[in-house]
């Protein structure tokens, strides 16, 4: 078998337009002059900051040594000044990620997915047979040529062929890409093997089905936590009804946390799901026809990204200013003696060093006391630049609410903002159809989008640590949106009614209702609190749904049961305790259910209050304080229930009184928990550094 010898030297090639760009390389369409053949040439600048010669060499050699129709190979590579030129086949269809973004934002049809994934799996089988772990399987690395042939590309962690969004930011990239990274790769406890690619393959299947990977809206650190702590993602039996059972089973078999329980690529190829795979003609018809040329698509994506960057600059400055203010206020808001203050200051200093970003310290200190928030709100309102515009108020509250979340301390502020920018662009695109036409379908689409957000919120709750403080924080973040969006409130009410109809065992006890008072500001407080409770209830129901599905899945495939039983990882055990906590929390929600009917009255008054931002913020502060007290009361109630088995009304009343007196003590406990969280964060950071170092050595 004689191989075609491509010429060495840049004089033999004519570069055309750029068709891809990454951290340290760009890809061009080009003409090989002696053969008069169109090729793709990746040009990698060895002088770029993060260019590692060893990685580049290994990748170049791997691509020469592979010879399989489903794996992208290189024809030749040579050095020109301080650039490396790698000559490859031209994959004119681009990557599946590009095609999703350009024409199928909600995902491909199942038959297309089966066809593409089967080809990818053959490539993986070949690579694994020859000892390679790809480590970056995802839609962005699945390439399609003009005849519909599918190839798996990109063998270097630091180099890339076509544009993949996450790869653009070096800070966001770990060993592979977070959303697609297998749990054992993150943990680095026992090392990992080919099975890590199978997990990534499962995530890629979800990506092709939904148009994006699960957790793709979250910042990288949060993705790591969610992958380790949550149950594996999968297709929803309700929402994804259009997909077949075998597709759901196939994905479930890939996304098993214990790698030894995942099938090999060879075994997976025999799964019944792939029987429906078609020929490459199907790919041409379903994906490639009507698509603009790859270069044009690249231009469009670039323009879009530039627009987003332009929008980002100003908010970035504001975000920094806000963080600075939070930081200062945090210090001045402390009420501790000198020793405590010094301890806190030294802790924040360590925290700052670990994160290399003062914004985190600002976010962290703003969590110290409600007093800090109390001062914060009026100050924010009085800023001259702040207008009464609804949208801007919404953004402000969202920022403030997110500042309350402990998770915001975990995430880099900039990264988080970038992610939220993506969210807003998605939202704007979904609103666009509604403005063009008034069809009921578009209206339904809008609601589906909102449900999707709620579902993400549910996952977020599930992923949080067991500390109750997080629960309250989450409730706070939901509240502002509820008060500002009457439609959303109505939608939430509808959602909360469904869970009530579901049969579930909740220990019941007599609830203490807050007495109604006369026609004044205080009249609205109970209603708002009950609305907040309703949202919490809804969230809890959302978080329970995956458990139900898990049970269903256990019946379908036994493989899912064993990993849960034998889970060795302390993080998995934490997940278990989280479930226990979730059950308790559900019980505690029940006492407030009688307050739900009052929520209807609130919606008629919402528009009135939105006209008075100052009053609105005062109300919100009071609501938060009230909610805090109620939360503490619920927690005590749960404790009583577990101890005595019953709930005594008189005892509740006594508890409420002593609860108020103990508020200060609880505050100190919360501070202690925050300190623990920060310490755990630092430990996590160290593990990450170790992981990066180890990867560099490998």
């Amino acid at each position: 078998m004689e191989k075609k010898k491509y010429p060495i030297g840049e004089e033999h090639y004519l570069l055309y337009e750029e068709i891809g760009q990454g951290v340290s390389a760009s890809v061009h369409r080009a003409l090989c002059l002696p053969f008069n053949e169109v090729v793709a040439i990746k040009i990698l600048d060895f002088e770029r900051d993060n260019c590692d010669l060893n990685n580049v060499s290994r990748e170049a050699q791997t691509m020469i040594l592979v010879d399989h129709p489903n794996v992208l190979k290189s024809h030749c590579s040579f050095v020109s000044d301080h650039n490396l030129w790698v000559v490859m086949p031209f994959m004119s269809g681009g990557s599946c990620l590009h095609i999703l973004k350009a024409a199928h934002p909600d995902g491909f049809e199942e038959v297309v997915i089966a066809t593409v994934l089967k080809e990818v799996l053959k490539g993986l089988e070949y690579l694994h047979h020859h000892g390679h772990i790809h480590r970056d399987v995802k839609a962005g690395n699945i390439l399609i040529d003009s005849r519909g042939a599918v190839k798996l590309g990109d063998f270097g962690v630091s180099a890339c062929l076509f544009d993949s969004g996450d790869r653009q930011r070096t800070r966001n990239t770990f060993v592979g890409t977070p959303c697609w990274m297998a749990p054992e790769v993150m943990e680095q406890l026992h090392g990992y093997n080919f099975k890590a690619d199978i997990w990534s393959f499962g995530i890629t299947a979800l990506e092709l089905a939904h148009g994006h990977a699960p957790f793709s809206k979250f910042p990288p650190m949060k993705v790591l936590l969610m992958t380790l702590q949550n149950a594996p993602p999968g297709l929803d039996y309700e929402r994804d009804r259009k997909f077949s059972k075998s597709f759901k089973q196939m994905i479930a078999s890939c996304l098993v946390k214990d790698p030894s329980k995942r099938p090999s690529a060879s075994k997976l190829l025999k799964h019944s799901f792939f029987k429906q795979a078609r020929s490459s003609d199907t790919i041409v018809k379903k994906l490639l026809e009507g698509l603009p040329a790859l270069g044009d698509r690249m231009e469009a994506l670039k323009r879009k990204e530039e627009d987003m960057l332009a929008q980002k600059k100003m908010p970035d400055g504001k975000m920094e200013e806000l963080s600075q203010n939070e930081y200062k206020r945090g210090i001045s808001g402390w009420n501790f003696n000198l020793d405590d203050m010094k301890a806190q200051a030294s802790l924040i200093h360590d925290f700052d060093d670990a994160m290399s970003d003062i914004n985190h310290a600002g976010s962290s200190s703003s969590l110290s006391t409600l007093d800090s928030l109390d001062k914060q709100l009026p100050s924010a309102i009085h800023k001259p630049s702040r207008s009464a515009d609804m949208e801007e108020n919404d953004e402000m509250r969202r920022q403030l609410a997110s500042a309350l979340l402990v998770d915001s301390a975990v995430n880099d502020a900039k990264t988080r903002f970038e992610k939220s920018d993506d969210d807003s662009s998605i939202a704007s695109s979904s609103h666009e159809p509604q403005t063009s036409s008034s069809c009921p379908d578009d209206h339904v689409n809008n609601h589906l989008g909102e449900k999707s957000d709620m579902e993400n919120g549910g996952r977020s709750v599930e992923g949080m640590a067991t500390h109750y403080y997080h629960r309250r924080g989450c409730s706070s973040s939901i509240l502002p949106e509820a008060t500002l969006l009457p439609i959303r409130a109505e939608s939430n009410t509808n959602d909360s009614e469904k869970p009530q109809n579901l049969p579930h065992n909740v220990s019941s006890c007599n609830a203490t209702s807050v007495p109604q008072t006369g026609e004044d500001v205080l009249t609205e407080l109970p209603s708002r609190v009950s609305k907040s409770s309703a949202n919490s209830d809804d969230t809890d129901e959302k978080s329970k749904v995956p458990v139900v599905q898990q049970r269903g899945r256990f019946k379908v495939t036994s493989e899912n049961v064993d990993p849960e039983k034998v889970a060795p990882s302390p993080l998995l055990q934490k997940s278990h305790s989280m479930q226990v906590f979730s059950q308790h929390n559900t019980a505690s929600i029940h006492p407030t259910l009688p307050l739900l009917p009052a929520s209807d009255a609130t919606s008629s008054n919402l528009s009135g209050y939105s006209l008075f931002p100052v009053l609105h913020s005062v109300l919100q502060t009071n609501i938060l304080q009230r909610e805090g007290i109620l939360s503490l009361m619920k927690q005590i109630t749960v404790g009583d229930s577990s101890a005595d088995g019953t709930c005594n009304p008189a005892q509740v009343a006594a508890t409420e009184k002593s609860l108020l007196e103990a508020a200060h003590e609880r505050e100190k406990e919360l501070l202690h928990e925050i300190t623990d969280l920060q310490w755990r964060l630092i430990c996590t950071q160290e593990e990450l550094q170790k992981l990066k170092t180890e990867n560099a050595q490998v």
């Binding site: 170049a60 050699q61 050095v79 301080h82 020859h130």
Partner: protein
């Protein structure tokens, strides 16, 4: 199913496997270009035998290999001179057969029969096989496969010593600059392993061949090829700063000729090369026993050197502080020379 069909026809004992491989490899000789179809058929036979060997050596992915069978196979392969055939037939093997062979090679070499590495001993007695593998870098089709096999051999000190001492070692200075980046970088990987894997062997080699080696190495450091300059400069600091090589380093930093090379590299257009050059250059300057010629060169170029060093910075990185400290020390040392 078709696989099990083949399995029924395959020999079952290690002795039979070795014999079949030998016969199918020797059969390749009797085919000529005229008999294209016969050659293809012979190559297919080799490929099947290699798959069988591979399965016997490393299992089939579901079950582990039988270690007793592996030992017998290893003994038989050495006894029947199959290793020699495997290496000499590399250029005409098919693509997949070559991959399977490379996979089996590392297992064969690492396998112990009681306390002996049979294959390593065989190669020691047929040491010209290593020369054959080195020369294969000239054949683009098999260069990368031979490179992997060579690096497996180099893990054993006796084999590494032979390659360093052999006439074919000089060829590496050509191979690392080949225009094909993948072949050149693979050759450099092997070259690097030779100079860093067994520090005592390297120390003896450099002591005995100091002048010839560094003559050739200077050509790499001053190559027009950017990658060659950068990689050779980095490798120099790796093996020169090893403690067993300290005598070599002391000799190296006495020579004005090599100081000039480092000063030239400090002015390279590449930031990466400048930084790597600094790590060698600083040793010349920090040497408390600088010869007079070195002092003169540093004095004559004092102003330029100080300008250069003040503008040198590593950008982002965790070693900022250490680098800045070293730089300040070197700057002071150079300033002191005029006194």
């Amino acid at each position: 199913m078709s696989f099990s069909f083949f399995k029924a026809l395959r020999p079952k004992t290690p002795q039979e496997v070795a014999k079949s491989i030998k016969e199918s490899l020797m059969a390749l000789d009797t085919k000529t270009v005229v008999e294209v179809k016969a050659l293809e058929k012979a190559l297919e036979e080799v490929e099947k035998n290699f798959v069988t060997m591979r399965t016997m050596l490393s299992g089939d992915g579901e079950s582990e290999p039988n270690l007793d069978q592996v030992s017998q196979l290893v003994e038989e392969i050495c006894k029947e001179d199959v290793l020699t055939l495997l290496i000499h037939k590399l250029p005409i093997l098919g693509w997949e057969a070559r991959k399977d062979l490379v996979h089996c090679w590392s297992i064969l070499l690492k396998h112990k029969v009681e306390t002996n590495y049979y294959c390593v001993e065989y190669i020691e007695q047929h040491i010209e096989l290593l020369d054959f593998l080195v020369v294969c870098y000239d054949n683009k089709d098999i260069a990368l496969s031979c490179g992997i096999m060579l690096r497996e051999c180099i893990k054993f000190p006796s084999l590494a010593r032979y390659i360093l001492e052999s006439a074919s070692f000089v060829l590496f200075f050509k191979f690392v600059e080949l225009p094909n980046f993948d072949v050149a970088s693979d050759a450099f990987s092997t070259f690097k392993d030779l100079l860093t894997k067994h520090v005592n062997v390297v120390s003896e080699f450099l002591t005995a061949h100091y002048d010839e080696f560094f003559d050739l190495y200077e050509k790499l450091l001053t190559s027009p090829n950017y990658v060659t300059r950068r990689q050779s400069l980095k490798l120099l600091s790796e093996f020169l700063l090893e403690s067993p090589n300290s005598q070599i380093m002391k000799q190296y930093i006495l020579e004005v000729r090599y100081l000039k090379v480092m000063m030239t590299l400090l002015r390279d257009s590449s930031k990466n090369i400048q930084l790597s050059a600094f790590h060698i250059f600083k040793v010349f300057v920090a040497n408390p026993n600088k010869p007079r010629e070195v002092k003169i060169i540093l004095s004559k170029n004092q102003e330029k050197l100080l300008d250069l060093l003040h503008n040198l910075s590593p950008g982002k990185g965790s070693e900022d502080e250490q680098f800045e400290e070293e730089k300040e020390f070197i700057i002071k040392e150079i300033e002191r020379l005029s006194i």
